[in-house]
């Protein structure tokens, strides 16, 4: 086996069980330092893939939601013939329609109101809880030239960021995340060895008055929180 053949084998490693080819490749690598180096790096990459793709545990809340959904599905929408299903559905629907309509309206009203942040303290509390979760980033700072553009298709509001890098903060990465029931932009910064989180949300999600550019500062659970509004954007910084 020559070097070119070895590289071709390396590219297709794992696709077949050809032991003879594997043995030839192994012999070649033993006598060719360049190809041996390729092999080592390729194995590092292969191990990285296997390790990072290990299964994560299912969040407990998700299992509970699924079990609840199963309980809430009406019995008539279960096993049975198509015509039998239609007949059962028709009977049930006529009987349940008024009650369902009222329940839907009530749920909509509750859901609509639960969506909003009711106070600055609530924003602060949710920000600190999220900051402590140590969320994985969806992008690293060196991969994205225009961070605002990255968020453009992921959030329903235009995202603008305050210029804080001249305060010695170094951007590490970011992601979309949830605070309560609202989607917000999240950026992670470092200052020295300190982690600093910045959450960016739309004023449409808040149900209280805030003065423009006035900073609301308070401590919460060993963290310091700063919240301020600028135009149509609210920022929450946790250090």
């Amino acid at each position: 086996m020559n070097c070119q053949e070895y590289k071709n084998w390396l590219k297709k490693r794992g696709e077949s069980d050809d032991e003879a080819a594997a043995s030839e490749a192994s012999s070649h690598a033993a006598s060719c330092p360049e190809c041996a180096a390729l092999d080592r790096i390729d194995l590092v990459l292969e191990d990285k893939i296997k390790m990072d793709l290990s299964m994560r545990e299912v969040p407990e809340a998700l299992l509970q939601k699924i079990e609840l959904n199963i309980k809430l599905v009406p019995a008539c929408f279960k096993q049975g013939s198509a015509s039998g299903l239609k007949r059962k559905a028709s009977i049930l629907w006529k009987a349940a329609a008024p009650a369902l309509a009222m329940a839907a309206a009530a749920l909509l009203f509750i859901s609509f109101n639960l969506k909003y942040f009711k106070s600055i303290e609530e924003v602060g509390r949710l920000s600190v809880e999220s900051h402590m979760e140590n969320l994985p980033m969806m992008f690293n700072a060196n991969e994205v030239k225009d961070v605002g553009l990255w968020f453009k298709d992921k959030l329903s509001f235009p995202v603008s960021f305050p210029s804080i890098e001249d305060a010695g903060l170094k951007l590490i990465g970011g992601r979309r995340c949830k605070l309560g029931r609202n989607d917000v932009a999240y950026l992670l910064y470092n200052k020295g060895d300190k982690r600093i989180s910045l959450y960016v949300m739309d004023t449409a999600n808040i149900k209280y008055e805030m003065e423009d550019n006035k900073k609301y500062h308070f401590p919460f659970k060993d963290c310091e929180v700063d919240i301020w509004k600028s135009g149509k954007t609210v920022y929450s910084m946790v250090r």
Binding site: K7, L10, K11, K12, E15, E34, A37, L38, R40, I41, D42, V44, L45, E46, K48, I49, K50, D52, L53, M55, R56, E57, V58, P59, L62, L63, K65, I66, E67, N69, I70, K71, V73, A75, C76, F77, K78, Q79, G80, K88, P136, M137, M138, F139, N140, N142, E143, D153, K154, R175, R176, C177, K178
Partner: protein, 192 residues
């Protein structure tokens, strides 16, 4: 007149819920974030419970759930319409592997290990990602993957190979950044 809902629930939980971890993890890797993964997983099991009577062979439940989940993911991705995917030149991975093998191996290994694989997976076209994930996360054979995705075995093999090249190539390129511009220089010279 009505079937026993309790029996249906028990049967569904016994058959489908053991695959919850697999479905959640696949949804997580396809969508790239926990929020979408939870939404998609929840919706998958809801639809599956409503259609449970359509599943004739309980041994095929895992594949059936995966198909439901994947269709939901694709529908949502199409609705968002912002799926920007990279292309990979044939031979690019091997080329970059050769270039990188001249660098400090310990440093390169550390830089590979420190990367977030999901960030790379987010850039790969779904048609390569699904077979790639089924191969690495579920240890499926090419034939089983072909059956689940309803594509020929040859297509499965080439898509897994391309997916693997994508991932390894991006891991390498990120690791090589900041080492020197040698990789870029070599690539330009080669194209010339």
């Amino acid at each position: 007149m009505f079937f026993s809902k309790k029996t249906d629930e028990d049967s569904f939980k016994r058959t489908a819920l053991p695959h919850l971890k697999f479905i959640y993890n696949m949804a997580l890797r396809l969508s790239g974030n926990e929020y979408d993964a939870e939404d998609i997983t929840q919706e998958t099991f809801y639809i599956a419970f409503k259609r449970f009577h359509q599943l004739k062979d309980e041994d095929k439940c895992k594949s059936w759930l995966f198909s439901i989940m994947r269709n939901l993911f694709l529908k949502e991705a199409e609705r968002r319409g912002n799926y920007k995917e990279l292309n990979l030149d044939e031979g690019e991975y091997l080329f970059n592997l050769e270039s990188v093998s001249n660098y400090n191996e310990k440093e390169i290994t550390e830089k590979i290990d420190n990367q977030e694989l999901q960030v790379i997976l987010n850039k790969i076209p779904e048609k390569y990602k699904s077979p790639f994930l089924l191969f690495y996360m579920d240890n499926r054979s090419y034939k089983e993957i072909a059956d689940v995705l309803n594509i020929p075995i040859g297509t499965v093999m080439s898509r897994i190979s391309r997916g693997r090249d994508f991932v390894k190539n991006l891991l390498l390129k990120n690791a090589a950044k900041g080492q020197s511009d040698k990789v870029i220089e070599l690539k330009i010279k080669r194209k010339l």
